[in-house]
Amino acid sequence: MRYLLRRFGHAVFLLVGVSLLAFTFTTLAPGNYFDEMRLNPQIAPETIAALRTQYELDRPLPIRYAHWVSSVLHGDMGFSFAYNSPVLPLLWVRARNTLLLTITAMLLAWGIALPLGIWSAEHLGRLPDRLLSLGTAALMVIPDLALALGFLVIAVKSGRFPTGGMVSLHFESLAFPGKLGDLFLHMALPITALVLSVLPLLLRHVRAALAEVLDAPFLLAAEGHGISRRTLLYRYALPAAANPLISLFGFSIGTLLSGSLLVEVVMSWPGLGPFLLEAILARDLYVVIGGVLLSTLFLIGGNFLADLLLYWADPRIRTEASV
């Protein structure tokens, strides 16, 4: 329990730190949301000044931060200048779409990385393993952006996949299986891009972790007892190699989240990516901070989950915690 509380304390500390940094950096960036209005000949400078005052942009940073923190404590993440409405609902509808994409991609990536990595470790140094290593190395050097663009080209050339968006226009008129199919078709390319961007890293770690354990004497003994290869690998070797992999699981959530922001922009997926990008360029201060905080929250959530798994998988941590 103390272990969990300590983790929770870390999370809160991290959130405060991130919010402070996000606040400072977005404010330090030159220009503000109302600058573009200056280029609009229809708007008087007095109107712009009045708006700045209304949104407290002319107040000193610490005061604005204090106001913002107090509003967050009241469950309100601030106000979007552009949308003229509270930030949280705006972020939440888009965050759901981002989560749908990243969680599916994560499950898929681990689903592929575990068996493939184990298989590769088993055949360590042989031709299939070498080919796989070569493949992952190649994938690793291709930037996410190039992957996403490549898939877009495929979508356009083949005409089989939509070139962006989350659902078709006639989505509402479809029956449930049709809806699912439509969503799947739209998700296919962004998910593939995401999975391919994170897969090489996972694969290599799984392979390395397993390869280390496979030489361990207890496994040789187990093999000598006539335990089947399959049971040996998944029942005994994998749990022994699990610790670094579980830590990697938390980390992979972060990688996928940041990767997904980019893929979303390129593939016009209606998630946090395009929304945050627009807000950053427009200096929509509280949307940017809210978005950063929400991403941090997801990241912390992922790591927390990893910690829980670790707690469950590794008896040493449990003992340490209960002391």
Binding site: E36, R38, Q42, G159, G164, M166, S268, P270, P274, R283
Partner: protein, 599 residues
């Protein structure tokens, strides 16, 4: 800013007059009220008769932020609001002239101070509630209320005094101006008339800025435009449906609009918009770059691509002529000595290869510019303005006269030096988000190298650039662009007047810094209140000539308005004024098979 507001208004009045004249001569005024029944006075639109039904899909580069016309600022919101709302008098985007809209007629008093507008009978908002003079009174009360912060409010203030509105009867309103205004009835364009029964309560509660968000239930929002709200899916799309109470018909008496639904898809970048159009997911596309236009033009089987000619966007280059403040780096103050020299600026202008810019940046789909008024603005363009070809000789002789000299290094590169022997070096800032303007800066860099000037191009993110130009004033020179929202000169008032925020080379001056800026101020203010087009045109031409003589802005080029639509879209006629393809949305229709296909 008082004079500024007044100026803006007179600009609008004048341009409206001009537009009215242009319309008279170019084509018959398209809309004549016709009595359909005793209660309804509908507007009949001439032109190709279409088929009813179907759904048209277009993409928006950014999500609209609001449906509330009182607070909307961004392009996407304005585009959406444009098809959901209507104004009293409307500027036809194709003829650039005014035509009757919610007001079936108007009369201007001989002294130019009183405008009497008569509303159409039987008008209804999209929720079926009737419109009368009280709604119009309410609308202008809200726009004029300082607490509402409506960005357009300034256009209703003349010399510090607001316009006043009085109701004569349920159909008739009198607008009283404190001063005659050259723009005339053009000033009524763009003021969405609001529904009193929907908005009076939020207004009284001081919450009018918070209504009309995109998540507003469809039942709680209404306008007088051809379409009304149906559904909004955050981050994905906005679906509008036909307004059954719309007040226009075609010549056969069919009530417009033809389309059942208009869908805006949110597609976050220009290339993705092109992809969506290519794959057939959207029916129309506009705001195309020349590159994308030529890609789409290569395969025209399924769609029609149209180059509507030069729009009202003008791109220009300017030096920092602002008064140095305490914080201005000494280096910039030093360079400003060159920039303030008229001959130096004229030499730079003579050395810039505008045709190369049109060719390289716009692939030939643009026009070289020597003044602020683009060829797209047919009535206000000063035909007498010279268009000198590029001349390095002239540039060199101007620099020599101004005391500059050259020395040649051993590698054959010549360096331009001022009278004190300092080499002429400066940087040009350009928006990194606009590849066009970055390219222009690169062309200028190359052109000026031939004069021995050493120029660096510094791409900056949009808002950082604006911050430098309008606030900190820490820059040497800048490439920027602007687009007039209307053809009337008054839409650029903040560029012309020395007190204006867009007088970019030296913005928001308390007093004109130079005699020629004072003269431009005088000419511009005078044209605002002049009563005839000829008077206004003469004054405006003179102002353009002064700008050309002193070159505080070195004009470069104007891009063409490029658009495309599927062959199945009828009445597709892009205009050079915004909204380029949706200005006649009520007349757009889907030809035969397309209607069946979407059903």
């Amino acid at each position: 800013m008082k004079t500024t507001s007044a100026n803006r208004l007179s600009r609008r009045v004048f341009s409206s007059l001009l537009f009215a004249l242009v319309a008279l001569f170019t084509q018959p005024i398209s809309a004549l009220p016709r009595q359909k029944n005793s209660k309804e006075e509908l507007l009949v639109l001439p032109g190709e008769t279409g088929r009813s039904g179907g759904r048209l899909v277009v993409s928006l580069r950014a999500e609209p932020k609001t449906l509330n016309p009182l607070i909307a600022l961004d392009v996407s919101s304005r585009e959406v609001i444009g098809v959901m709302q209507a104004d009293l008098v409307h500027i036809n985007r194709a003829t650039q002239l005014t035509e009757p809209a919610l007001a079936k007629s108007w009369k201007i008093s001989p002294d130019g101070l009183q405008y009497t507008l008569v509303l159409r009978r039987g008008l209804k908002f999209s929720d079926g509630s009737p419109l009368d003079a009280d709604d119009v009174l309410f609308t202008f009360r809200v726009y004029l209320d300082e607490k509402v912060h409506a960005p357009q409010r300034d256009l209703l203030i003349f010399d510090g005094k607001p316009i006043s509105v009085r109701k004569v009867d349920a159909q008739t309103l009198v607008f009283q101006l404190p001063k005659p205004y050259g723009v005339a009835e053009r000033m009524f364009d763009g003021w969405a008339i609001l529904s009193r029964h929907l908005l009076e309560k939020p207004y009284e509660e001081g919450k009018i800025g918070q209504v009309g968000t995109l998540t507003t239930p469809a039942k709680e929002w209404a306008g007088l435009g051809p379409f009304r709200l149906k559904e909004y899916v955050a981050g994905q799309r906005l679906v509008l449906e036909r307004n059954p109470y719309y007040w226009k018909t075609d010549t056969k008496g069919n009530r417009l609009p033809y389309l059942d639904e208009l869908v805006f898809l949110f597609v976050p970048n220009a290339d993705a918009q092109v992809l969506r159009f290519q794959s057939g997911e959207t029916d129309m596309i506009s705001r195309l770059s020349a590159e994308n236009f030529s890609v789409l033009s290569r395969d025209q089987k399924e769609y029609t691509m149209v180059d509507a000619g030069p729009g009202l966007e003008y791109n220009f280059f300017f030096f920092n002529l602002s008064d140095p403040g305490e914080k201005t780096p000494a280096e910039i103050v030093q360079k400003q000595k060159w920039f303030r020299e008229g001959k130096f600026r004229r030499a730079v202008s003579a050395a810039v290869d505008r045709e190369a810019i049109v060719r390289l940046v716009y692939q030939g789909r643009g026009t070289a510019l020597w003044g602020l008024v683009t060829p797209g603005n047919r009535r206000w363009r000063d035909e007498k303005l010279p268009h000198p070809a590029r001349s390095l000789e002239e540039a060199r002789s101007l620099l020599k006269e101004a005391g500059f000299s050259w020395d040649t290094a051993s590698n054959g590169e010549s360096t331009l030096r001022d009278s004190t022997g300092k080499p002429v070096e400066f940087s040009i800032i350009a928006q990194s988000s606009s590849s066009e303007r970055s390219k222009m800066a690169a062309v200028i860099q190359d052109d000026l190298k031939q004069l021995g000037m050493r120029v660096q191009v510094v791409p900056l993110e949009s808002r950082s650039l604006l911050d430098r130009v309008t606030q900190t004033k820490e820059y040497d020179a800048c490439v920027l662009g602007a687009a007039s929202y209307d053809a009337d000169p008054n839409s650029d008032i903040n560029v012309w007047l020395s007190s204006g925020g867009l007088h970019l080379w030296n913005p928001s001056q308390a007093h004109p810094a130079t005699p020629w800026e004072a003269e431009i101020d005088r000419l511009f203010n005078e044209q605002m209140y002049a009563r005839t087009f000829e008077q206004r045109k003469n004054l405006y031409d003179r102002a353009q000539e002064i700008l050309r003589e002193y070159q505080p802005m070195i004009f470069l080029a104007s891009p063409d308005i490029l658009a495309g639509a599927k062959k199945s879209v009828g009445n597709f006629r892009p205009a050079v004024l915004e909204p380029y393809v949706l200005w006649n949305v009520e007349q757009l229709y889907l030809k035969n098979d397309a209607v069946n296909a979407t059903r």
